[in-house]
Symmetry: C2
Subunit: 242 residues, 2 copies
C-alpha cells in the first residue's frame, strides 16, 4: 500500500464533475436511493404501506439495522393517514423536528396546514422558568402545556424520553388520546421504558424499540405518511365519480 500525498491527490479532477456531466435533481437522487434500498434490504415482514415508511427511515439514516427495531401498531397507518387528512395539529418535542417538517408535504395532504399547526413548547420562556423552579426537564412541562393539542392531535417525539413518559401518564390518568404517536426518543436514560410503556396503552403508534431514535427519523415518518395520505386523496378522487 502506498501513501497518498494530499497535494498529489488534489491535482485530480473533483468528483462533482462526473455529477455535472450526468446531473440529477434532488427528487431523482431520492428515487434512486429508494431503488437501492429496495434492492439491498434483507427479507422482512412489513406490509407494503409500512415498508414505505421504513424505507424512508432507512434513507434518512443510511442504516438497514433499524429494520429490526421498527414497530407499528396494527392501526398505525390508517390512523395516521386519517389524522393528516383531517389536518390535525402536530405537537413535536424538539425545534429540530419543527424545522425539518416540510409544510409543502403537509399541505399536499390538507391545504389548511400552516406553520402554526406544528407546535413545540420546549423553548418557551414560561416552560424554562417552571423547569428551573421544579428542577425537572423542560420537555415535561412542555408536554403538559400541550394537553389540549395532544388530545386528538398528532404526537411526534424524537428527542425526550421524559416527554414521552409524561404523555404516557396523561394517556393513562387524564384520558388524553392522541390520534397517533411517533415514539422515537433517543438515548440511554428512560428511553427503552418510555417506548415499551407507550406500546401498551392502546394508542396507534410507530416506534423504534431500544435506544435509537431521533428527530430526523420522526420527520421522515411524517413525510412518508404524507405521501401515503396524498396518494390516497388522489386515489379517492380518481375512484369516486359521484
Amino acid at each position: 500500500m502506498t501513501t497518498i500525498d494530499p497535494k498529489e491527490k488534489r491535482s485530480t479532477s473533483p468528483l462533482i464533475h462526473a455529477f455535472y456531466a450526468s446531473p440529477m435533481t434532488g427528487q431523482e437522487i431520492e428515487d434512486r436511493s429508494f431503488e437501492m434500498i429496495d434492492q439491498e434490504a434483507p427479507a422482512h415482514r412489513f406490509m407494503p404501506e409500512e415498508w414505505k415508511v421504513v424505507r424512508r427511515m432507512i434513507h434518512t439514516t443510511g442504516d438497514f439495522t433499524l429494520m429490526d427495531a421498527i414497530r407499528f401498531s396494527p392501526d398505525a397507518i390508517p390512523s395516521a393517514v386519517e389524522a393528516l387528512l383531517g389536518g390535525r395539529p402536530i405537537y413535536v418535542d424538539s425545534n429540530m423536528i419543527r424545522s425539518g417538517l416540510s409544510l409543502a408535504r403537509l399541505q399536499s395532504v390538507n391545504k389548511d396546514y400552516c406553520r402554526e399547526s406544528i407546535v413545540c413548547y420546549v423553548a418557551d420562556q414560561g416552560i424554562s422558568l417552571q423547569a428551573q423552579e421544579a428542577n425537572l426537564p423542560r420537555s415535561l412541562f412542555a408536554v403538559r402545556k400541550a394537553a389540549s393539542i395532544l388530545d386528538g392531535g398528532i404526537a411526534v417525539f424524537g428527542n425526550s424520553p421524559i416527554a414521552l413518559l409524561e404523555l404516557n401518564r396523561m394517556i393513562i390518568e387524564k384520558d388524553i388520546r392522541p390520534s397517533f404517536v411517533i415514539a422515537m426518543p433517543v438515548g440511554f436514560v428512560h428511553v427503552v421504558g418510555s417506548k415499551k410503556e407507550l406500546m401498551s396503552l392502546g394508542v396507534p403508534y410507530i416506534t423504534v424499540v431500544g435506544r435509537r431514535g431521533g428527530s430526523p427519523l420522526a420527520v421522515s415518518v411524517i413525510h412518508a405518511l404524507c405521501s401515503l395520505a396524498s396518494a390516497q386523496t388522489r386515489y379517492g378522487k380518481d375512484g369516486n365519480h359521484e
Copy 2:
C-alpha cells in the same frame, strides 16, 4: 408467555411516577448517559479529547456501532477549537442543524456568536430558482453562494452529499480553505465518495465514513467541541496570572 390486555396494563401506575420520586434535571440525565457510555463502550483508540466528541455522537444516536466509522484528521480538534474560540462563522447545509445548534453553547466559547453567525442558504428563494433552472439540487448553489463564509469559516454538513462534493471542488479549484469541516452527509447516492474525497484534501475534518451521518450528529460534534473549547478558555484563565 401470557398476552397483556392493554386495558389491564393501563390500570398500572405510569412509569413517570418513579421519575417524579427521584427526579433528574436535563443536565443530570446527560451526565448519567455519558457515564453509561463510558462503561459500555468497547475498547477503542480515540484520544481523550476525541473521545469526548465520539461519546456525544453516541449519546445523540444511541448507537455504539458508529465508533467504527468516525474519523478525525490529526489536526481536527485543535483546528476546530481555535476556529470556535475565534468566533468563525458557521455554514450549515440544513436548517435542522441551524435549529439544533445551541447559541448558549457557542457563546460560552466566544460571546460574539449570534444567530446570524450560523448561515444556511438552502431555503433561499434565489437558490431555489437557480436550482429549478439548472435542474440540479439546491444545496449545490447554496454552497457556492457561501464561498466567502466557507473560506476560513466552519463547514457543517449533515445532509447533502452534493453540497460536500461542491465544497470539495471549491477547495481544489478555488483554493477555498475552511478552518475545519464536519463531513456527515447521509444516504445512498454520492455519500461515500463525497467523504472519501474530502478526507484527501488536507483540510481539518471530522467525518463518519460510509452512508451514515445526519444533522443531529453534526450538531452533537459542534456542541462537544464547544465544551472542549470553553474548558480550554477556563484552563487558560486559571493558568495565566499575568
